[in-house]
């Protein structure tokens, strides 16, 4: 593969009904390229969790998906409040999501752990008061 394919999506903040649109679009695009269902499933779930996090905590953000020679890279960048304690945020069950979000079935403290579970590499670059950028890679 020569030039890597890049898809960019804007994730709207505060809108749970449209959350997932970027992930579903990525799923469709990767499917058209011909990736295996398992790779597509991992990428799209990891991305959906990231999208939901950006909707809940950061009033939206930008998701970029890059198809490289041997991996798919997902970068989720927001200008939200940042994550004060990344280690704690990575623990299953730890959540700072508000109650109304929990009522929708989110905020179980599984988002970041799921993103790690479904990807081969994940790094979090976050500064309180500035924003968060999460980079994930799924090898194929």
């Amino acid at each position: 593969m020569g030039e890597p394919l890049v898809f960019t999506y804007n994730v709207d903040g505060g809108d749970f009904t449209s959350a997932g649109q970027a992930s579903v679009m990525v799923k469709k695009n990767l499917n058209q390229i011909g990736f295996s269902p398992e790779v597509i499933r991992r990428v799209s779930i990891a991305m959906y969790e990231g999208e939901i996090n950006m909707v809940i905590h950061a009033d939206g953000g930008v998701a970029t998906v890059k198809v490289d020679d041997n991996c798919i890279e997902i970068v989720l960048a927001d200008k939200g409040p940042g994550i004060a304690d990344v280690e704690k945020a990575m623990q299953e069950g730890f959540s700072t999501a508000p109650d109304e979000v929990r009522g929708l079935g989110f905020g179980a403290g599984m988002g970041l752990p799921n993103m790690k579970r479904y990807t081969d590499e994940m790094s979090i670059d976050s500064t309180v008061g500035v924003g968060t950028t999460i980079t994930m890679k799924v090898n194929y």
Binding site: T17, A19, G20, S23, R41, G105, F106, N114
Partner: protein
């Protein structure tokens, strides 16, 4: 077993079924969406009482075979339309999730 024949055998009420030939391989029960995305396997029948629109995205991304709304839970018309467009099968069962799961395990 396909979604279609499972639904027939369990007498599930169809909400929408755009992909009736999808194969059902297992069951997952849960209402917390991230748990479902983390633990449900592709091809599972997903039993839940959660009925907001996000279940459609979760089912589409996790590639569950169908959503079964337990205990007679219903969804809005808008959710049905979204599910139809995204190829997500949804049925309703009047029975609790456990009973439905037991019945499915005897069939697959």
């Amino acid at each position: 077993m396909t979604v279609n024949s499972l639904a027939e055998k369990l007498k599930l009420e169809p909400v929408c079924c755009p992909d009736p030939e999808k194969e059902v391989c297992g069951v997952y029960i849960g209402d917390l969406l991230s748990w479902v995305m983390g633990r449900a396997k592709a091809g599972d029948a997903w039993l839940t009482i959660m009925s907001n629109v996000n279940i459609v995205a979760v089912a589409a991304l996790a590639e569950t075979a169908l959503i079964i709304l337990a205990e007679g839970v219903t969804v809005d018309e808008k959710i049905t339309e979204t599910a139809q467009a995204k190829g997500v099968n949804i049925f309703t069962s009047q029975k609790p999730a456990y009973e439905t799961a037991v019945e499915i395990s005897k069939l697959i």
